[in-house]
C-alpha cells in the first residue's frame, strides 16, 4: 500500500503523527485501545482528603460546656468551580474518634457522618448539566424568572439541584445512636445571583439535635493560613531572618510580609458541637470531670470492596462488591504531621493505620525532616536528631506513657479564650494563651509558625521564625461553626504580593 492513495485529510492525519515522531525522535503510540483499560495511576482524593482537624472547648459565649470538633476536606476549593465539583462523597465515612480514658486508643466515643446526593427541583425538571440555578439581583435580569437559592428546603430551594443530605450517628460505649438524619449540607457560595443571601442560607444548615448537639456540613472558607507560594519556592520567605520583629510577632491582625495563599480558597466543612459530658469517661462537664484530658482524631474511610466475583447462586448476577467493612483512607490529629513529619513513601501506610500504631513512625519524630529543611535553607542550626521532646509532645499524654498515639490532645479543664482575645502563637505568645494548640487546636492558631519554632528549636524561637502570615484571609467567627463564610464564585479574589 502506498500513501498516494490517501485523500488530503487522511494524509494530513498521518503527517501529523509522522511530524510528532520526527520532532521528538520517540515513538508515537495509539491513543487508547479497546483491549486495554488504561486506568489512571495517580489520582487525588479530595473528598476524603482532610486538610484540617480542630478540637477545642467552645469559646462561643454561653457555650463553654461544649466541645467542638471540625474537619475540613476538599483542599484548595476554587470558589468559582464550587458548583460542579465540591461535594462530599457518598461512599466516604467521615468520622471523629475520641479517647477519654488516656489509653491512647480513640475508641471510646465516635461520631459518624454519611452523605447522600439527590438531583431535584428545576435542574432535574429541565435535565440541566448544572448543580445550582437562581436569578437573584443582577445587572442583566434573567429572561425567565428563576427563584434564587435562599432556602435548603421548600420554597426558595427550587434551584438547589444537587442537594446532599446527611446522617449523624454517635457510637459510645459500644452503643450506637442515630443523632440526626435528613440533615442538609449547605451548598457552595455560587454568587450573588444564585445564592444572594448566603449567610442566612448557611445558618439554616446549623441543626440542633437531641442532647444539645449541633451540627453543620457545607462550604466554608479555608481557615488554614500560610504563604504556601513562598514555602513551595524552597522556603523563599519574603524577608530574610530574623523574620518577624517583636512588634509584628505580637500583632495578630496584620500580615507583616507573607501572602495567605490558602485563605482565598474554600473547603468542605463538617462541624460538630457536643456537650463535654458526652465525651468524658465519667459523664461530667469540663469543670467537674475527674478525667479532663481527651485525645482525638478525624478520619475518612471508604468501603472495602472485593475484586474476585463470588456468585451467590446460579441466577445471581448482581454485583456483590461491598463487604460492609471500611478501610481508613486518611486520618488527621495534629496539624502538619502528614505534611512535614511523615515521609512521602510512607504516607499511604501511615494514613491506613490507627493512631495507636504510631511507634512504627518513631524515627520521623526523633529526626524531623522539617528541622533539616530549615537548617539547610536558612543556615541556622536546628535540632535535627534525638527529638524525644517531640515524641512526648505529640504522641503522649505524659512523659511516662508507653503507648505512643498521634492524637490531638485537649484538656477541657482549661478555660476557653474568647475569639477576640485569642493569640495565634498560643503558649508561645506573651502573655500565653493556653487554650490553643497543642492544647487542642482552634482555627485561630498559627500552627505553621508554632511548628517551625518548636521543631526548629531555640534559634528559631529567637528568630521569631514564621511565614509572615499572621491572620486568616477571611475573618473567623466567634460562633458555631466558627469558620468564615466562603468567598462566592463570581466575585472571588485571590491575594497577590504587592508589586
Amino acid at each position: 500500500m502506498t500513501l498516494k492513495r490517501f485523500r488530503s485529510a487522511a494524509v494530513a492525519a498521518v503527517s501529523a503523527i509522522l511530524g510528532v515522531a520526527a520532532y521528538t525522535g520517540l515513538a508515537p503510540v495509539p491513543g487508547g485501545t479497546a483491549s486495554h483499560r488504561e486506568a489512571p495511576l495517580i489520582s487525588l482524593d479530595p473528598a476524603a482528603d482532610i486538610t484540617d482537624f480542630f478540637m477545642f472547648r467552645s469559646y462561643e459565649p454561653g457555650k463553654d460546656d461544649k466541645v467542638v470538633m471540625i474537619m475540613n476536606v476538599f483542599p484548595g476549593g476554587e470558589p468559582s468551580s464550587g458548583p460542579n465539583y465540591l461535594t462530599f462523597d457518598q461512599n466516604v465515612l467521615y468520622a471523629f474518634y475520641v479517647d477519654n480514658d488516656m489509653d491512647g486508643k480513640a475508641n471510646d466515643v465516635r461520631f459518624e457522618f454519611r452523605f447522600k446526593s439527590e438531583v431535584r427541583g428545576l435542574v432535574d425538571q429541565f435535565d440541566l448539566f448544572v448543580s445550582y440555578l437562581g436569578c437573584g439581583p443582577r445587572d442583566l435580569p434573567c429572561a425567565t424568572p428563576l427563584p434564587p437559592i435562599t432556602a435548603l428546603d421548600g420554597p426558595g430551594s427550587e434551584g438547589l439541584g444537587l442537594r446532599q443530605k446527611y446522617t449523624v450517628a454517635m457510637v459510645r460505649n459500644g452503643h450506637r445512636e442515630q443523632l440526626g438524619e435528613g440533615l442538609i449540607a449547605v451548598p457552595s457560595n455560587v454568587g450573588p445571583s444564585t445564592t444572594p443571601t448566603y449567610d442566612s442560607l448557611a445558618d439554616q444548615g446549623v441543626y440542633t439535635l437531641d442532647s444539645g448537639i449541633r451540627t453543620f456540613a457545607g462550604q466554608r472558607s479555608d481557615p488554614f493560613y500560610i504563604d504556601l507560594g513562598a514555602v513551595f519556592d524552597t522556603l523563599n520567605l519574603r524577608r530574610l531572618p530574623p523574620l518577624l520583629t517583636p512588634a509584628e510577632d505580637a500583632n495578630d491582625d496584620v500580615n507583616p510580609f507573607g501572602i495567605d495563599s490558602i485563605g482565598t480558597f474554600n473547603v468542605q466543612t463538617i462541624a460538630l458541637e457536643v456537650p463535654a459530658s458526652l465525651l468524658t469517661v465519667d459523664g461530667m462537664g469540663p469543670d467537674e470531670t475527674e478525667s479532663s484530658k481527651l485525645g482525638s482524631y478525624a478520619a475518612t474511610s471508604r468501603p472495602k470492596v472485593t475484586v474476585l466475583r463470588v456468585p451467590k447462586s446460579e441466577d445471581d448476577d448482581r454485583g456483590d462488591v461491598e463487604s460492609g467493612k471500611w478501610v481508613q483512607v486518611q486520618r488527621l490529629a495534629n496539624p502538619l504531621i502528614n505534611e512535614t513529619i511523615i515521609g512521602t513513601e510512607d504516607k499511604d501506610f501511615w494514613n491506613a493505620l490507627r493512631p495507636q500504631k504510631e511507634e512504627a513512625f518513631l524515627d520521623y519524630y526523633l529526626n524531623p525532616r522539617l528541622a533539616l529543611a530549615l537548617q539547610l535553607i536558612f543556615g541556622v542550626p536546628a535540632e535535627t536528631t534525638g527529638r524525644q521532646d517531640l515524641v512526648d509532645l505529640l504522641l503522649k499524654y505524659q512523659a511516662a506513657d508507653e503507648q505512643l498515639s498521634e492524637l490531638l490532645r485537649l484538656d477541657i479543664s482549661v478555660a476557653p479564650t474568647a475569639l477576640a482575645a485569642q493569640r495565634r502563637m498560643t503558649v508561645l505568645a506573651t502573655p500565653a494563651d493556653p487554650a490553643g494548640w497543642p492544647n487542642g487546636r482552634r482555627p485561630r492558631d498559627d500552627v505553621l509558625d508554632i511548628a517551625v519554632r518548636v521543631v526548629g528549636g531555640p534559634n528559631y524561637v529567637a528568630a521569631r521564625a514564621g511565614d509572615g502570615v499572621n491572620r486568616n484571609f477571611r475573618p473567623l467567627s466567634g460562633e458555631f461553626p466558627f469558620l468564615a463564610t466562603p468567598q462566592n464564585g463570581r466575585d472571588r479574589v485571590h491575594e497577590n504580593p504587592a508589586p
Binding site: 500500500m1 490517501f6 487522511a10 498521518v14 501529523a16 515522531a21 521528538t24 515513538a27 508515537p28 503510540v29 495509539p30 491513543g31 487508547g32 485501545t33 483491549s35 486495554h36 495511576l41 489520582s43 487525588l44 476538599f74 483542599p75 484548595g76 476554587e78 488554614f224 504556601l228 514555602v231 513551595f232 480558597f265 470492596v305 472485593t306 448476577d317 448482581r318 454485583g319 502528614n338 505534611e339 515521609g343 512521602t344 513513601e345 510512607d346 499511604d348 501506610f349 491506613a352 525532616r369 533539616l372 537548617q375 535540632e383 521532646d389 512526648d392 509532645l393 485537649l410 484538656d411 479543664s413 482549661v414 508561645l428 500565653a432 493556653p434 518548636v454 528549636g457 531555640p458 524561637v461
Partner: protein, 437 residues
Amino acid sequence: MGAALKIGGAGMVAAAVFVVGAVRPVTPIRRDAVPSLTSGLSARAGAGSTAARIASLQDGLRAQPSDWRAAAALGLAYVNQARITADPRSYPRAEEVLRLSLSLRRENVEALAGMGFLALARHDFRAALAWGRRVVSTNPHGVAGYGVLGDALVELGRYREGFRAFQRMADIHPGLLAYARASYARELQGDVPGAIGLMRMAEEAAGSPEDAAWADFELGELFWSIGRLQEAEASYRRAIGRAPLFVAPLAGLARVSWARGRLNEAIRRYRRVVARFPAPEHVAALGDLYALTGRHALAEDQFALVSAEQALFQANGVNVDLELALFDADHGRPREALRSARGAWADRKSIHAADALAWALYRNGRSREAALFARRALALGTRNALFHFHAAMIEVRLGHEDRARALLSEALRTNPNFSIIHSPEARRAIAGLEAPA
C-alpha cells in the same frame, strides 16, 4: 520566655524548645529534605486540571532542576495527559522527565511507577511488570506499585495474580484507582453490574474533572457492553461535559448514533473524532460506517490509513499486534491477521489475545484449533458479546449448531449492537440456524 512555654491545663510542657542545648554547627544533611518537605505540603494546593498541574510542575522544575520528585510528578502528569486527550505527544516528554528523575535519584518510587505506567500505555506489559515489581519491592505499602503490577499481570493474562494485586490495592487505599481496577476485574469475570457499581464509586471519588470524565466514559462503555444505550449515552455526555478535550466519549456517542440507525450522524461524529485524533480504532469504525452506507472508496481510504498508522506504530516499536490482528482479520488480510495474532499470543496469554488468535485461525479456515482458543477467551466468564460471536461462528463452521445458537443469542442478548460489521452478521447467522434444515 521560658515559663511562658508551659502549656496550661494539659500539663504538657513544650519541652521541645528547651531540651536543645548549646547551638551546634550545621551538619551535612540529606539533599532531599527540602523537596520532600514542600511536596508534603502539595496536597494543600488542591485539585486542579491536569493541564494546570503540568504547567505548575514545569515551572517548579525550571526553578529547581534537581527536584527529582517534581520531575517524576511531571512525567506521570504527562502520561495522564496523553491518556485523557488521546494525544501521544506527551509520552516522549514523559519518558524524558521520568528518566531525568531516575538519574537524579535511583529507585525512587514515583519515577519507577511512572515508567511502569508509561510502559503500560505503550503496551509493553512485560516491561511494565518489571517496573511494577521494582516499585512494590521499594515500597510495599504504597498503592501505585500494585496498580502497575496488577495492570501488567492482567494484560499478560495472569489474572489470579493480577486480581490479587488489585485486591491489595483496594485493601491499602480504596479510591478511584482501586475501584476502577476492581471494576475491570469484575467485568472480565462477567459481573457487569458489579463493574458498574464500582465504576460509579470511582466516578464519585474522582479528584479532578478529567478523572471523573474518564470514569464516566468507562461507565458508558460498561452500559454499552450490555446494550443499555440510554445510560451509555448519558454517561458519554457527562464525560464530554466534564472534559471537552477527551475524544473517546465522542466516539461512544457516534456508536450510539449508529445503534439508533442514524448513520449520517454517526459518520459526522466519527469524522469529528478522527479529525481530532486519528486513533486506528476510530478510523476503522469510520471506514466500517462508510462501507455500510455503500461509500466503498471512502471506506478503503480509511482502512488504508489504519494499516499505515499501525505500520507506523510498529516501526516505532509500539506493540499493536492484537489490534492489528482483529482489524486485518475483518478486512480481508487473514494471513497477516494470523501472524499478528500469534505474535500477540506469544506475548500475552490474555483472553483478548486468545480471542484474536481464535478469530484469525477461523479466518484462515482452521476452526478446530480456533475453537480451543475461543474457549480460552470465554474461560474467565466474560460477557463480551464479540468474543461470544467469534466463538459462535467457529462452532457454526464446526457444525455444532446448538452451541452456536446459544452463543449467538447470548451475544445478541448481551449487546445487540456489539459491532458495526458483526451485529448484522450475527442476526443472519442465528436466522440461518433457526431455519428448518
